[in-house]
Symmetry: C2
Subunit: 227 residues, 2 copies
């Protein structure tokens, strides 16, 4: 095999991974899987894709090593193959956010809270949480919280936010997070909390990044994942 063929072949292999990242549905699947393991039909329901289509996308992701699966009983559970993948997704998001005009436009028009206050960096949250200065709020659905969350975080899924305010210490600052740096849940939560006159900020990124950074996490109370 010539040096030229090798190079071509190597780039072709890298391109396979790129191709796998080249579809919005697959990226959405990856974001959900990054929250914790998920079965095919859970993913199909969340994304709104058919089971067959979901399965096909998952197999593409698996073929390029982005996810792994494990059969348990009737279901097949998919997980990210490693934290490398979270880094790759963040790199992709970062480049898109900083260099694709459409992304910037989308974010600033839709995520109105975006620039009103800088999001809180991970390390800073860690310091403040340690000093007991803030309430850390996980606004993801209960199953995702159960699969793993920032140590000490309180879970109030977005839908129940207003009903559960009594569970929060209203004097302390609230820092909300969700699935990732562009997930709408935390933006939405911060906007609604501020409307209620509370001090609220957003963590700069989501649970997968927190976990990948090696920061302290807890896993849920072994809740069964029913729907």
């Amino acid at each position: 095999m010539s040096s030229h063929d090798f190079k071509q072949e190597l780039f072709a292999q890298f391109a396979r991974v790129g191709k796998a990242l080249g579809n919005g549905n697959r990226l959405e699947l990856l974001e959900f899987i990054a929250q914790g393991q998920r079965s095919v039909d859970e993913l199909a329901k969340i994304t709104g894709l058919t089971a067959a289509n979901t399965s096909q996308h998952l197999q593409q992701l698996r073929q390029v090593g982005l996810v792994e699966c494990r059969k348990q009983g009737l279901k097949v559970y998919y997980t990210l193959s490693s934290d490398d993948v979270i880094g790759l997704l963040d790199a992709l998001r970062g480049v898109a956010e900083r260099h694709v005009a459409d992304v910037d436009r989308l974010i600033t028009t839709y995520l109105t809270v975006k620039d009103e206050l800088e999001p809180l960096p991970r390390e800073e949250l860690l310091a403040r949480a340690h000093d007991g200065l803030v309430t850390v709020l996980d606004v993801r659905p209960a199953e995702e919280y159960a699969a793993g969350h920032v140590a000490g975080a309180v879970n109030i899924p977005l839908a129940e936010l207003e009903h559960c305010l009594k569970d929060l210490d209203l004097d302390r600052e609230i820092v909300a997070y969700c699935r990732g740096p562009h997930c709408v849940l935390a933006f939405d939560a911060v906007a609604r909390l501020r409307k209620l006159g509370l001090k609220a900020r957003r963590l700069e990124d989501g649970y997968p990044e927190w976990k990948t950074a090696g920061l302290p996490i807890e896993t849920g109370e072994m809740m069964d994942k029913h729907d």
Copy 2:
């Protein structure tokens, strides 16, 4: 615009970047551009693509913000739009190397030197170079060296390696680098130097990574880039 539409649209935008990375020729173009600015016809010649095809690929890369171009006289020069892109490419390579079986097989069968000796990390090279313990060898073509290289590195393009041995201090260890972590030039150089009985190692990655890490570089003696 609903939250769901926003999410879909956002993932679709991220996917555009993924798609752009989903073709081996485009990845090869990016690697060349990462060495320094390049005109369309230079890139066409190096890659062996037609000018029209090269132009089309470059425009795709430009549309998703991976590269930028600047017209100067008769030629259009392309550059990476920022160092973010190098990080993204490295993340892609890393995931592929660690999780795609075919990539690992390719690398271990073709790059025979691969596991004989650990490649040298950047920081370690920096320390040793500072102490004057090693000769840093840039084995890329002269134009790429001229466009920028590791501070203090000697340039001997691979083709002239054996002819230019006299330029090297044969008693010191030689550390070779080239375009990136999987570029064959440095692997090849190390193999050939060792065959000649010299002490040679490979830098763990290439010039773009070195530069992006903020380590010291030099740019060439304003050579005109003719062919």
